[in-house]
């Protein structure tokens, strides 16, 4: 009674559409609950349980998104804002939420065998993984630059720790430090970019910024454009666009392999979600200003990624550089600044996530105890030693090279189509050139696996979780390579929107 009188009733809590936040809540809640349960009762729980629970949580988040997809693709209801105009639920965010949630499932299944082999098992990895995914989902749904930044930090902080998770391996520690220092550096750029944008438009809310830029002609747009530059630095860092890519090979090589699988898929998806929503959707009216710089970034990313991949001898570094060149293909879709371009990025993210997780799953088992055997030579003769493993890797490599009848072909096809539709002929040619250069590196690994002999006959143990991941990923890659339509349709329907609460 007494307190009620004193407490100011001026704080109005916003309406929250709780049902729309199911994926966020499942991921974050799952992480916290897991931490509690394992700290209290961890010693009595079986060692395989954390990864199963994590996979279930990830799957739960994906399933929890289905009703949202129904809602936002329903013509009568459509996209909506879940929390005070700053968390937007639209086809775009739901699509990426599902992608990120499923990468969690895969990363958890891969981690099971890996962590036990490296004697690192425990719930911490999984808790961090879930928290990081919650951050990624927040980024995908953010309709406010502050929320976006919050999501990015939740995502990144967890991944910094995960990069250094292999505490007996110096490279892992080194990777974590490098990633952390450079990540903090780039976050500063992003935050400063947000500040400048706020200064130029008077809001951090993307809906308001978009409306403001549509209705107002800025007499002096210097502040806004400087904001663009700094935002691009921050987001370019997350998606490893050249020249902000330098951390990628070192961190990929050093980090535990299941973590790399998540970095190259889930983290990248979150980064592109932000890039698309901020630039293509919010700053769409200023496309003429930012398109040339994205053009330059795309060309640099495509070429540098492919060329540097060719001169590597370590498969993890090769895949790191190849992931940079794949990011270049997705930047083409961003540069197109069109509905088809956005759909091409979403399709690319969905299928590339599967490919890269499958690839790192193979690397993770071949690298052996200590996670060190990752040179091309270590893959020699794999075709004779573990034919099915080598077959799966071949499928993923062929798909990454863009061979028809795999999902990778359509991914590159739609990216290049987006460039051609936007009349960016030169960009399309550079993309094809990059694909040709990169094909060499995939062939090199395949030649090593199938045609070169090896006197190494140490047994390669493939844990059950990895078998499941490899089987699902290979079936996905071939199946949707032959029947691409379902995923293409989903990517086309997943349109981004900026709407306020009613």
């Amino acid at each position: 009674m007494f307190f009620a009188q004193v407490a100011p009733d001026s704080i109005v809590t916003p309406d929250i559409a709780w049902t729309a936040l199911v994926p966020h809540l499942v991921l974050a809640g799952g992480a916290i609950l897991m931490l509690m349960v394992w700290s209290l009762a961890g010693r009595w729980l079986p060692r395989w349980l954390p990864s199963m629970v994590t996979a279930a949580v990830g799957l739960g988040a994906a399933i929890g998104s289905i009703h949202l997809w129904r809602r936002v693709t329903d013509a009568d209801r459509g996209p909506f804002s879940a929390v005070a105009d700053s968390v937007g639920i639209d086809g775009f965010s739901v699509f990426l939420t599902v992608v990120i949630s499923l990468t969690v499932v895969f990363a958890a299944l891969l981690a099971d065998g890996y962590l036990r082999r490296e004697r690192l098992d425990g719930p911490e990895y999984h808790v961090l993984l879930l928290l990081s995914a919650a951050g990624g989902v927040t980024m995908a749904t953010a309709n406010d630059l502050i929320v976006l930044f919050l999501g990015l930090e939740i995502l990144s902080l967890a991944v910094y720790v995960l990069a250094g998770y292999h505490n007996r391996r110096a490279q892992s520690q080194e990777a974590a430090i490098k990633y952390f220092v450079l990540g903090a550096f780039s976050s500063a750029f992003l935050l400063y970019g947000i500040a400048l944008t706020y200064g130029a438009t008077g809001s951090t809310n993307l809906v308001d910024i978009n409306a403001y830029l549509r209705s107002t002609v800025l007499v002096d747009d210097g502040l806004l454009l400087a904001g663009f530059a700094l935002l691009l630095v921050g987001l370019g860092f997350k998606v490893s666009a050249v020249p902000f890519h330098t951390w990628t090979p070192d961190v990929y090589q050093g980090s535990p392999t299941p973590v790399v699988a998540f970095m190259a898929s889930g983290v990248k998806a979150a980064g592109f979600a932000a890039l698309l929503r901020v630039f293509v959707v919010t700053f769409g009216t200023y496309a003429d200003d930012w398109k040339p710089i994205l053009y330059a970034l795309a060309v640099a990313t495509l070429l540098v990624g492919a060329i540097l991949a060719v001169v590597q001898n370590d498969v993890k570094r090769m895949l790191a550089y190849s992931s940079i060149s794949h990011a270049g293909f997705m930047l083409i879709g961003v540069h197109a600044a069109s509905a088809d371009g956005t759909a091409s990025v979403l399709y690319y993210l969905a299928v590339y996530s599967v490919l890269v997780i499958g690839s790192f799953a193979v690397v993770g088992v071949v690298s052996g105890t200590g996670d060190g055997a990752t040179t091309v030579g270590d893959f020699a003769g794999l075709g004779a030693r573990r034919p099915w493993l080598a077959f799966a890797f071949t499928v993923f490599l062929l798909a990454q090279a863009g061979v028809p009848l795999t999902t990778g072909f359509f991914a590159k096809f739609y990216a290049i189509t987006a460039a051609v539709d936007g009349r960016s002929w030169a960009l399309a040619i550079v993309a094809m050139l990059s694909a040709v250069i990169a094909a060499y590196l995939y062939l090199r690994i395949m030649i090593a696996m199938w045609l070169e002999g090896s006197d190494d006959d140490a047994p390669i143990r493939v844990p059950v979780g990895t078998v499941v991941v490899l089987g699902v990923a290979a079936a996905f890659t071939i199946g949707f390579g032959i029947f691409p339509e379902p995923i293409v349709d989903l990517a086309r329907d997943a349109t981004p929107a900026l709407v306020n609460s009613p």
Partner: protein
């Protein structure tokens, strides 16, 4: 029931997948029975679709089934879909039917081969591809099937690839078919630019009133593709060499099915040919005519039994091209079907003889085999009378239709084709006489029997043969095919409109482009009698040379014919002489300029990579400089774009 059309190619595909996964474990003969069951199932599915189509009115017998959109990309959208219409179902019926018989035969023929299951893997893949070729509802699916059958053909030609000649023959087929594929691909692109679609239905509805020049170009380009696949002059060189493969392969791929792909394709696009200038069908007819004569003349002098049949196939395909060029598509399809019956029969019969004669293919070693292999001999005689054009065997009816069509198109063409028909009757009689009749020219190691033979022609003394009838698995298909070769003519008897079953049935697929015979009854009878006379002349001529020995066979078997008009040798020596010089020039250009450019690019990439790699120092401070430098560059760029 036409919804089942997807099942037709799906079953052989399933067989292929199952055999790839578990063929080795199934081993012999399980793998063979599995493959046969799948193809037989596919035949049953075809029959069901056929019955479904029969239940509809003639003009509604076009059923399109789209499985899924394969390449969804704005304007350029390609579906994976099937078109079940009278034409495609006719093809599918005889393809699956004959394939089932040949699969059954092959179980016995390939007995003991170390790659038994692999053989059936390829065979099922072939049947799947062939069905995609004929059932596809657009040019791209047809092309996929086209490439698929080609691939299986090379794989099966060089199936015993430890043999140098077989591997070379496989390569030859590969190279020749590339030329044809080029024509097909360019035609597909041209069709897409013209119609905005490569779906048959959409193409044909747009064909009415299209530019004559475009229609001519598409027709001629498709002709290049068709000539490559159907072994027409000058792209026939690969087919005789393709006989290096196992005999069931020769029967299935190189006689009954794949090689008719070209004729099918041209029949399929009849609305486009109808719009083309009259030059295009004339070119088709004259290429076919020349091939028919040319190949028949070579077949006369070959000693290898399979070579005779190979050149005979080339020649008979020439007959079908004449029919297409003369606008009598029904006759082309009719002859394709009857030819599939009797040529498959003849090949399988030849395989049975080769099998019984210890893999000897030279007819100089045969003679008098009818007593030792009565079933093979009787069935092959049926095949012989059918191909020679003796009534009432099937070949007579279909060949007569083609001759009638040729006559109404151009009398000179008819005369030349009649000569080809005489040659056909002659070389086939020669094959039968040399193999089954006359004296034995082989030894069974028994000195008495040896002495009884009249002057053995080619007895090398060291080898002895024990000819015998093969197992029922091999002769049952022969008997079935013999029945079909005998009765196949019932499909399209020319007496009244009602007996022309095939003509009525195919009508919806031909869009009124079929040439309707204008000759009166008297004219038709005269032509029919002429063609019977031609057959009789051929048979009597062969009897005079090879049974009665009135004329020495060296008069007929001229060296130039034995050498197939020296075409192969000329090509080879050209390649060795002036050709080689020009190729060396090309190769020099390729080495220095093209390779230089390619290697140069690779060197630049490598070098550039090594330079860039130096930037990757591993120090956080230098990475931070990279990020910071990038940020400065972006800022500078945007500052230049600002409006103040």
């Amino acid at each position: 029931m036409e919804e089942l059309v997807w099942l037709i190619p799906a079953l052989p595909l399933l067989g292929f997948v199952l055999l790839v996964l578990g063929g080795r474990r199934l081993g012999e003969p399980g793998a063979g029975y599995l493959a046969t069951t799948m193809v037989a199932g596919s035949f049953i599915a075809t029959v069901l679709v056929f019955v479904g189509l029969l239940g509809k009115d003639a003009e509604e017998r076009l059923f399109e089934q789209t499985l899924f959109e394969w390449i969804p990309a704005g304007d350029f959208s390609v579906d994976v879909g099937f078109l079940a219409d009278p034409l495609s179902i006719t093809m599918a019926l005889f393809i699956t039917g004959i394939s089932s018989l040949i699969h059954l035969y092959a179980i016995a023929y390939m007995h003991g081969d170390k790659d038994f299951s692999k053989f059936f893997v390829y065979m099922n893949l072939f049947v799947f591809s062939m069905l995609m070729l004929v059932l596809g509802d657009n040019l791209l699916i047809t092309f996929l099937g086209w490439e698929g059958v080609g691939t299986c053909s090379y794989l099966l030609i060089s199936f015993w690839f430890t043999d140098e000649a077989n591997a070379t023959a496989g390569k030859k087929a590969f190279v020749t078919n590339r030329v044809g594929d080029w024509g097909f691909m360019v035609a597909t692109l041209l069709a897409f630019f013209t119609f905005g679609s490569i779906n048959y239905g959409e193409m044909f509805s747009g064909a009415d009133g299209m530019a004559t020049s475009t229609a001519t170009a598409i027709t001629l380009l498709l002709l290049v593709g068709a000539a490559g696949k159907s072994a027409q002059f000058p792209l026939y060189l690969w087919l005789p060499d393709a006989m290096a493969g196992p005999t069931p392969v020769s029967a299935l791929i190189h006689a009954a099915t794949m090689v008719t792909g070209g004729v099918y394709l041209l029949t399929r696009v009849n609305p486009i040919i109808a719009e083309a200038s009259s030059v295009a069908p004339d070119v088709i007819a004259w290429i076919g005519l020349f091939t028919a004569l040319f190949a028949a003349s070579i077949a006369v002098a070959q000693a290898d039994i399979k070579k005779v049949l190979a050149y005979s196939t080339v020649s008979q395909l020439g007959f079908m091209f004449v029919a297409v060029g003369s606008g009598v598509y029904v006759a082309a399809i009719f002859h394709m079907v009857t030819h599939a019956f009797f040529k498959a029969l003849l090949f399988l019969g030849a395989g049975s003889v080769i099998h019984g004669m210890d893999d000897e293919q030279d007819m100089e070693y045969y003679g008098g085999l009818r007593k030792f292999m009565p079933i093979t001999a009787a069935t092959m005689v049926v095949g012989w009378l059918a191909i020679a054009g003796v009534p009432p065997f099937s070949g007579f009816w279909s060949k007569d239709e083609i001759l009638l069509g040729a006559y109404e198109n151009n009398v000179v063409a008819w005369v030349l084709l009649l000569i080809a028909a005489i040659l056909t009757a002659f070389y086939m009689s020669r094959l039968i006489f040399l193999t089954f009749f006359g004296e034995r020219r082989w030894s069974d190691g028994d000195p008495e029997a040896h002495a009884a033979a009249d002057e053995p022609v080619a007895d090398d003394g060291a080898r002895s043969f024990h000819p015998h009838e093969p197992s029922p698995l091999m002769w049952v298909p022969l008997v079935v095919l013999a029945g079909l070769a005998l009765l196949g003519g019932l499909l399209n008897l020319p007496f009244t409109g009602d007996t022309k079953i095939l003509e009525q049935w195919l009508e919806p697929s031909l869009f009124g482009n079929e040439h309707i015979a204008t000759s009166g009854a008297a004219g038709k009878w005269t032509l029919a009698i002429m063609s019977i006379v031609a057959a009789v002349i051929g048979v009597i001529g062969a009897a005079a040379v090879y049974i009665r020995r009135r004329v020495d066979k060296s008069v007929v078997e001229q060296p130039i014919l034995q050498d197939a008009w020296m075409v192969d040798d000329t090509v080879t020596s050209f390649m060795g002489g002036p050709g080689r010089k020009s190729f060396e020039l090309v190769s020099w250009f390729d080495r220095t300029v093209i390779d230089g450019a390619v290697n140069g690019t690779a060197a630049v990439v490598r070098h550039g990579g090594l330079v860039l790699r130096r930037l990757q120092t591993g120090f956080v401070r230098s990475y931070a400089v990279g990020v910071g430098g990038g940020a400065v560059a972006l800022l500078v760029y945007f500052l230049f774009r600002t409006t103040f």
